[in-house]
């Protein structure tokens, strides 16, 4: 099974039915897979903080939600993560493309990559890093953990994981 299929299957098996995305080249396959899923309402957002607002609303409505975005979005969403998602104790799996790691062709992406883990650490956000394809096996447990503890949880997925995308 392709990694993107496995990710969407794990979402569905964990009753995630509302997913927002801001695209990244690395995430194109998983976004395509989401579009195909009949069990998930896919709502593209224009900016990641907007997307977190949509997810917060779906959560209030009793649905499990998730966001898919690039690591540059950590810079965009710190206030929303702290004063909405964490302050109101909302669960939010964040599948994040970890741009700027090994295999990265665009130098500017490294500038945010060097801050990504430090920022997530500063925000006390549980963070997992998928580097090898087999790391995806842990996704199901990470999703269960997220909805157990009602926190935002980051899953960083780098270029090696996506096989150079």
């Amino acid at each position: 099974m392709l990694v993107s299929e496995k990710i969407v299957k794990d979402f569905v098996n964990n009753n995630i039915s509302f997913v927002t995305t801001v695209p990244c080249k690395q995430l194109a396959g998983v976004i395509e897979e989401l579009e195909l899923s009949k069990k998930i309402y896919h709502i593209p957002s224009n900016k990641e903080d907007e997307g977190m607002g949509l997810c917060a609303g779906a959560h209030l409505g009793g649905k499990r939600s998730a966001i898919i975005m690039q690591n540059t979005a950590i810079g965009v969403t710190i206030n929303t993560l702290v004063t909405l998602i964490q302050y109101y104790r909302m669960p939010l799996p964040m599948l994040i493309s970890y741009r700027g790691e090994l295999g990265e062709p665009v130098a500017c992406q490294v500038e945010m990559a060097v801050h990504t883990k430090a920022l997530l650490n500063q925000l006390n956000i549980p963070t997992y890093h998928f580097h090898k394809e087999s790391d995806v096996e842990e996704l199901d447990s990470i999703l269960k953990y997220t909805f157990m503890c009602n926190k935002p949880v980051a899953i960083l997925t780098d270029a090696t994981f996506w096989k150079g995308y």
Binding site: F18, N46, D49, G53, L54, A58, H59, G62, T83, Y88
Partner: protein
Amino acid sequence: MIRAEILKELIPIISDQLVVCNIGLPSQELHMTDDQPSNFYMLGTMGLASSIGLGLALAQKKKVIAIDGDGSVLTNLGTLPTIANNVANNFILLIIDNGSYGSTGDQPTYAGKKTSLTKVAKACGCENVVECQAEDTLSVMRSALAGNKMTIIVCKCESGNIKVPVITMDPVVIKDRFMKEVAIGRV
């Protein structure tokens, strides 16, 4: 009319509805005048009331009113295309457009100058956009609630604030009682 007067007038018809209310004075005014478990007060994060409201409307069947301001919509302008392209007919977005950032000292917004949020919403693809004067808000909201069509109301009013206490309720309490209210009657 200023926002506080409009909210007070709306209370009889929105009190029993799910309301997601914008950060700062709008939430404080609603909280002071008509605190209800069916009110979700935003204590932080400017600009996301419309996004939270849309997410909530798409996730369940009850009607949802998001009370937003012109400044907040300008902060999160990307919300309007998302609303237009993800129609939820149980969603009403009320933009109280007083042309100023009320909670921060009434600094003017661009919506009070050349920018028309009504036209922006229409250009984004929102199909049912009603602009009204403050005095007509009650009747426009009544029609929106009676209908079954996603509605964006842009209510043009005067800027100005009343003295209100801050909300000291814990955010988890606000969320918990709101979610219980949302869940009542769910099958």
